[in-house]
Symmetry: C2
Subunit: 334 residues, 2 copies
């Protein structure tokens, strides 16, 4: 089953079921007005949503209409909990090497690296990303994420799969100019992580077939920058699975229904062949291999597109396709 949230002028949008081929959709607000409320009452809403999805596939859902990704908000336009991992050793190793740090410290962390993200308003998957300064070193991070049902404190990785309701794609927009000064505080990201965007469509794990296995999604994530392919690494080399991330995040607290957990920037040891999923990693590779950086960060007007196709070439989640825009405070307050 695939779900999306349509912009209806409210903060939380309107829940919709989307067809497998992303061509049609039907409002699901009679089952649950919003994605958040569907997740909070999943025992009641889940079966009814699956039933509606079947009718949509069969062409017998009344009120079905052509699905338009540009009308979507992030599936959860805002959330009560968003936690992002950094689970690709290749990425951690390259970032450490390029800055003269010992790569073994982070690469061999005995627990997953995760940061508590800001969840109070996510970007639209197909909208502008308003940011104040190019000098903040604007970057994208293409990731996979999961949306959870309520997870009890103390859950183990072995039990975690049952709490994963949806899988989606993520652009964890990052401002690299703040990373160095924030990482030394130990307090985590405040200015370096402005907000985040998610794919137009969230997908139940059963839609992903064998590509979803062991709490990892092995299909390549396709990242383009201004229309040019930037990288297509896949999620198979996640050093901690999503099950491990759930166990770690729930060690001393519960996680709410609607909590989102991200994988961190996807990265593969075969980066020479598949490229990277963020600019910072490409710059790290340039620094290591060329002794200096060639690639600059994003400029106002630049676009980033993040998408994933299955082995039959079908887009699974729709595309995140965003334009970096100069933030104009007067305009945004008007």
């Amino acid at each position: 089953m695939k779900l999306a949230t349509l912009d209806n002028g409210t903060r939380d949008g309107a829940l919709a079921v989307v067809s497998r081929d992303l061509r049609s959709a039907v409002e699901a607000t009679t089952v649950a007005p919003t994605f958040q409320l569907a997740l909070e009452n999943w025992a009641a809403t889940g079966p009814r949503l699956f039933e509606l999805a079947e009718r949509l596939e069969a062409g017998s859902a009344p009120g079905a209409f052509a699905f338009d990704e540009t009308r979507c908000l992030s599936p959860l336009p805002r959330a009560y909990q968003w936690i992002d991992g950094s689970c690709f050793k290749n990425h951690l190793r390259l970032m450490a090497l390029s800055t003269g740090r010992d790569p073994e410290v982070e690469v061999n962390s005995p627990f997953p690296l995760m940061y508590q993200g800001a969840s109070d308003e996510f970007y639209r998957p197909r909208g502008d990303v308003p940011l104040p300064r190019e000098d903040d070193n604007i970057d994208f991070e293409a990731e996979v994420g999961v949306v959870l049902d309520e997870v009890p404190m103390g859950v183990t990785a072995a039990e975690a799969e049952r709490y994963i309701r949806f899988v989606l794609l993520i652009n964890d927009v990052s401002l690299r100019a703040y990373v160095k000064r924030e990482i030394v505080t130990g307090f985590g990201w405040m200015n370096a992580k402005p907000s985040t965007a998610f794919s137009p469509v969230a997908v139940t794990p059963d839609e992903l077939g064998s590509a979803w296995s062991g709490g990892r999604l092995s299909l390549p994530i396709e990242v383009s920058w201004n229309g040019e392919l930037f990288g297509r690494p896949n999620g198979s080399q996640m050093s901690y699975s999503f099950f491990d991330l759930i166990e770690h995040a729930a060690r001393t607290r519960k996680l709410c229904a609607g909590a989102i957990i991200g994988s961190g920037t996807i990265s593969n040891a075969e980066y020479a062949a598949v490229g990277s999923a963020c600019i910072a990693e490409r710059r790290a590779i340039e620094m290591i291999e060329l002794g200096g950086v060639k690639t600059e960060f994003m400029r106002f007007g630049d676009r980033v597109r993040i998408e994933m196709h299955n082995s039959e070439g079908r887009s699974l989640f729709g595309a995140i396709d965003q334009r970096i825009a100069r933030y104009d405070r007067i305009q945004h307050q008007a």
Copy 2:
């Protein structure tokens, strides 16, 4: 004006107006069903809530009843945004000195130290705090916080005051066993900060008189542990004001209506006279002055009480009064 959220069996509770002396209350759900919705529509709801508060003070509010702090959830039982500062130089200095770190690094930070907190379910002010292990080194942190209206990205400290709608007290429950391993990652707190509690009552700044000035609250916060006074430091020595914290948090993103920002553990240079607001600081003082630690962390069954009185001896926010409980997963899932 004073507001509270009453437990009505729902996740977000029922909004109520509370009298200045905390003796009576009246449901405000006809103005806004929840605190969050009141804040999201403040231009409409604010004046009506102030009017209801006036009627309550005058004894002419229909349906008024005796206010009972034990019926309260945290004013926002969950929130979309919770950010906590660490803004008391005395605390930063003591913590660094006791662990052999250079105190000048954190004390002279050119920007406020703040961490992104988990906001998906806050503890009740008068309930149990279920935690899995005493060995996690259970601690309290008594703080002051502010609840905001929507803050535009790029706001300056000079403009920030107008976005502060409420002031409240905080118990930022902390698990010290995780601090050392999490601070070196740079990714912030994941296991070390389970969840947080807030005072039963949130108070508009005008209720605080001259004690609220320059974005700081100068009254002592009274902290008791198992009925014994532990400390009563005051907020006047906050090195960055709440206005500075708002500027910093909103540098690269907006803050939603209902965002909460905390001061960090309150701490005074006169700690020998006024004590501390968390156990970790008392232990740091023991380490520095006695060469070893005497005070242990909290045990299951221990209580912590956090309250603030004005110069006339009147409790301003009601009391956070919590019992540390052994988390029983079976029971919590039933």
